[in-house]
């Protein structure tokens, strides 16, 4: 039978029951739009979590001395040539690398007039730290002027605990390269705001040369490399593992396993979420199609009697299902886009800032709509549309002219 004719038949059949099919269409569009928008939120959160993990002084690839993670300190340190760059390694192109930074990070005790706290003292080269949150955090007071700067950047939450302020002095105690304690007073250049009080309480920043002086060591304890795109990760990682023998070369996933696990979970969650919504919808679709088939028992019986093949009857039902599904997807995607676009630049969640910071999210929620996710929505919807038409189609071929006449 002419497929065009079949298509026309299905199309007209749909229009015979405008209200019923219109409601079904609305349900599908609504579900697709909702899934698209919610996926963009979940995806946005995932991207943000990845960024946070990478920003958290990890970079995409991080080099540490063996054993540093178990026993951090200046004893677990290494040395790299001053002019070392990741892109001198074979296979790493300059455009893959966004930046790199070496640091000295050691545990320390910080004391003010009133309080004593345990922190991590991090010596940085402020110019290289555009690759981490240090580069774009807000600072009240002054920033560090360079790697020679002998002043401190203190997190706001820590400063509150210590009851100190920019311009005051605090005392740092840490262990030098020879294993003996070092204590010295430092002036606070400024107070920084990071995303999450945890960071603010954990890290004290100063010039890397200042820490090296204090510890009597010219070495570094870590090197972070940030890439321009996540996908370069595995390649750069393997090149660096080959080049830097004797050192631990790790990814942010190794360093922040919780964030990495969440990252993987999100992929699964998006698919599951979609399956649940669309699965529920499938039953509505089945119901509508079965009703449509039962209504037309006489009609279908007659068509069979005048010689329509059972296959054509099946195709007719499937095409009906597909038509309503595809229309629903198109309208749903359009609606989803319409909802997404005004939010694409980010939603200010600062009303819940305390709660979002607690979980390490930024107060600005940026949804992200990825082409891959849209394809997932479209293909899964079509598969479900096909599956949902199986039972009604089976019911439709079971109709015989004899049965139809008895009705």
């Amino acid at each position: 039978m002419n497929p065009m004719l079949l298509f026309q038949l299905s199309w007209r059949n749909l229009w015979r029951r405008r209200r019923r099919n219109g409601l079904l269409l609305a349900a599908i569009s609504f579900a697709v739009a909702g899934v698209v928008v919610l996926n963009s939120f979940i995806r946005g959160m995932q991207v943000q979590m990845t960024q946070t993990a990478v920003n958290n002084m990890n970079g995409h690839v991080k080099v540490l001395a063996p054993g540093y993670l178990d026993d951090p300190g200046i004893a677990r340190s290494f040395d790299l040539a001053k002019d070392w760059r990741p892109d001198v390694l074979e296979g790493i192109e300059a455009e893959m690398v966004a930046g790199w930074a070496s640091r000295v990070r050691v545990p320390a005790v910080v004391m003010s007039e009133r309080e004593t706290r345990g922190v991590q003292l991090v010596g940085i080269d402020p110019a290289a730290e555009a690759i981490s949150f240090i580069g774009d955090m807000a600072v009240e007071g002054e920033r560090l002027s360079g790697s020679e700067d002998g002043r401190l950047l203190v997190g706001r939450a820590l400063a509150e605990q210590l009851e100190t302020a920019a311009g005051r002095r605090i005392v740092l105690i840490t262990q030098g390269a020879d294993g003996r304690n070092r204590e010295a007073g430092y002036r606070i250049a400024g107070l920084y705001d990071a995303e999450g009080e945890g960071l603010e309480k954990a890290f004290l920043f100063t010039g890397i040369a200042n820490v090296q002086n204090l510890l009597d060591a010219s070495v570094i304890t870590e090197l972070s490399v940030r890439l321009t795109e996540d996908r370069h990760g595995p390649n750069v990682l393997s090149r660096m593992i080959d080049a830097l023998t004797g050192l631990d070369v790790l990814t942010w996933q190794d360093l922040e396993p919780t964030a990495a696990a969440m990252h993987e979970f999100v992929d699964v969650a998006i698919a599951m979420w979609f399956l649940i919504v669309m699965g529920a919808l499938a039953f509505g679709l089945i119901n509508t199609l079965v009703t449509a088939v039962m209504e037309r028992t006489r009609e279908l019986g007659m068509l069979r009697a005048v010689g329509m093949r059972p296959r054509a009857v099946v195709v007719q039902v499937v095409v009906e299902s597909m038509l309503i599904m595809v229309l629903g997807i198109v309208i749903g995607l359009a609606l989803g886009m319409l909802l997404y676009l005004p939010m694409a630049s980010g939603i200010d969640m600062s009303a819940f800032a305390a709660a979002t910071e607690e979980f390490g999210f930024s107060a600005l929620m940026v949804p992200k709509l990825e082409a891959g996710d849209i394809w997932l929505v479209v293909s899964l919807a079509i598969v479900i549309g096909l599956l949902a038409s199986v039972y009604p189609a089976w019911r439709s071929v079971k109709i015989t002219p004899l049965e139809a006449m008895r009705r």
Binding site: M111, S112, E113, T116, G150, V171, A184, G185, Y186
Partner: protein, 263 residues
């Protein structure tokens, strides 16, 4: 003319002598005062209570609004760096000891039979529940190394000079205070010690309540440490007996002795 000249010559030496004596009288006290520097005063005060070596018996009273506690302590010191303190009463605390050796500190608790090296992070905490911190006990020579000392006021009282010294920590000094103020008598007896935060708010104060001669030296024998924000909390240390410049065995100030000496 000749006579006048001769007479003039005769008088002149006399005048000169008078002027010289007057000048000497006028200049002498201030010259002596100028010779005493803030550094000397603080060093003198530190050495006065410690001597080359010392052995002190004291009582510590901790006063709180709803309770008070009195403990007895014996202490030995050598130079500016080494101190050993041991509680002798009440029975509950007896045997608890503290050793300061250079920059390091250890505590010993007989009930646990263990010595613990005191981490720096704990040194701003209260010592034995008193108003003294471990840092207060260990700070002796820090003052000379890390502070800029300056006499800001001197006055005479009952025939003695009283000096007020501002001790401002140097920028890289491992000292949290904004400044300390010491009030010292010219015989190096400490009268008052005040601790200010970096906004120059007075945080705590140690005042001398009694000065007596003990062990052949005039020293502050009763001192009260008080935090300004808790006026009814204070700790008094009363020196009951003291000997200075005595023979002490070298092993006195070792971790081994900290533990072994308890039994």
């Amino acid at each position: 003319m000749r006579m006048r000249h001769a007479k003039g010559c005769h008088i002149k030496p006399k005048v000169r002598a008078v002027v010289a004596i007057a000048a000497a009288l006028l200049v002498a006290p201030s010259a002596v005062a100028q010779e005493i520097t803030a550094y000397d005063l603080v060093a003198g005060a530190l050495d006065l209570t410690r001597g080359d070596t010392s052995h002190t018996e004291m009582t510590m009273q901790v006063k709180r609004p709803d309770w008070e506690r009195s403990t007895s302590i014996v202490a030995w010191s050598r130079g500016r760096e080494d101190t050993l303190m041991r509680f002798t009463a009440p029975a509950k605390d007896a045997g608890n000891a503290l050793l300061k050796q250079g920059a390091n500190m250890w505590t010993y608790t007989p009930k646990l039979n263990r010595t613990i090296r005191l981490p720096y992070s704990m040194r701003s905490q209260s010592w034995a529940g008193s108003d003294f911190s471990y840092n207060d006990l260990s700070r002796s020579d820090k003052l000379l190394k890390h502070y800029q000392l300056e006499i800001v006021e001197q006055r005479e009282e009952e025939g003695r000079m009283i000096y007020t010294i501002d001790a401002v920590p140097r920028d890289d000094a491992p000292v949290v205070w904004g400044k300390e103020v010491w009030v010292l008598r010219d015989d190096y007896v400490m009268l008052e010690q005040r601790f200010y935060d970096q906004e120059m708010t007075l945080l705590k104060r140690m005042t001398t309540m009694d000065i007596r001669e003990i062990g052949g030296r005039v020293v502050a024998t009763r001192m009260r440490m008080q935090k300004l924000d808790e006026p009814d909390h204070w700790t008094e240390v009363i020196i009951e007996a003291a000997q200075f410049d005595i023979e002490l065995p070298d092993r006195m100030f070792t971790v081994f002795e900290l533990k072994a000496g308890a039994s």
